[in-house]
Symmetry: C2
Subunit: 197 residues, 2 copies
């Protein structure tokens, strides 16, 4: 029923996460009303992404250079590594502007169920960096889940004979959330992690 070229745009939009058939149709129809110039800009931006984006050869962050802007910033503390699962996580922490060290993107979490082992994620490159740069602390910011915990325990075990300090970000109740909506395991972690006030 739709013209072929509209169908194709709908198909492409449906590939995006959280975009279903109806939303894809709505977005595609809105693109029909875009000016030719805006459509050119949109298309070019995707081509640029295709041709210029790669992963930082040091930390795995996305970059349009060989080395990302954070790794090449000599004003940042090179003795701390903040370990995240995905490159996008870096931007979340960068936005709050409280951390001034380096990052490392694992690109996944250890998951025996899904057959993802330590060798399938960027743990070896993390260990290399720790050794070569005399890292003093690594901060683990992985999601509190079985996979996240397994990955953190694995990293802790591998580094147990080194001098590097290993911390993980706190699990607890998010600000503004009613406690009645929080699951039992989070409550347990929150209680365990209680602090003097």
């Amino acid at each position: 029923m739709y013209p072929e070229c509209l169908k194709k745009v709908i198909e492409c939009l449906k590939d995006l996460p959280g975009i279903g058939e109806k939303t894809a149709e709505r977005l595609a129809f809105s693109l029909v009303n875009f000016s030719k110039e805006r459509l050119t800009v949109f298309s070019n931006s995707i081509i640029d992404l295709r041709d210029k984006i790669s992963n930082c050869s040091i930390c795995g962050n996305i970059t349009d250079n060989d080395i990302c802007s954070i790794c090449s910033d000599s004003n940042r503390n090179g003795k701390i590594i903040f370990v995240v699962e995905k490159a996008k996580d870096i931007s979340l922490f960068e936005k709050i502007n409280v951390y001034n060290g380096k990052y490392h993107v694992l690109g996944g979490l250890i998951s025996p169920l899904e057959g993802i082992g330590p060798e399938d994620i960027n743990i070896n490159s993390l260990l290399d960096r720790i050794k070569k740069n005399d890292i003093e602390e690594i901060i683990l910011a992985l999601k509190p889940s079985i996979e996240g915990e397994t990955t953190m325990q694995y990293i802790k075990k591998i580094l147990e004979n080194s001098n590097v300090k290993i911390t993980k970000i706190a699990t607890g109740i998010p600000i503004g959330t009613d406690i009645e909506y929080i699951d039992a395991m989070t409550l347990e972690f929150a209680l365990e992690g209680r602090k003097d006030i």
Copy 2:
């Protein structure tokens, strides 16, 4: 903080309706993980849309030809015109597969408040079609709002001396909706439009 080409993709995605900053970032990051081939397909689909889509010279539906597939379909009843506001509305009615006539896209509704008059929407071309094709019935499927009603009343008035039958689709309570959530005006229309059972 983001590489320039990622920023551009985010900006473009934010132009889409209902896509805010956070969603645009999420979608852009998912594009980073697309294969180069899929990004090429995506980009090309937008270029195709830009170059091939236009409005049907008869009814205003979107098409990749001069005349849309519905207007050029001789198996459809050419004596009835179904009048909608937007081209997308056509696909909604086509999907339910109960109508076999032609369509006409107004491309907007009369709105004195926003300075949109009858000459700003495709009413003249509708009147031309009615005259030239001996149309027997027009079905108005415009949204039940002040603008929709104004537009319907205007079309009715202009055609009052012609033989064409003018109907509008029913206003009432959507199936599956609890009556307690329905506004007063819809209830009034629903009562007015009651039917024998």
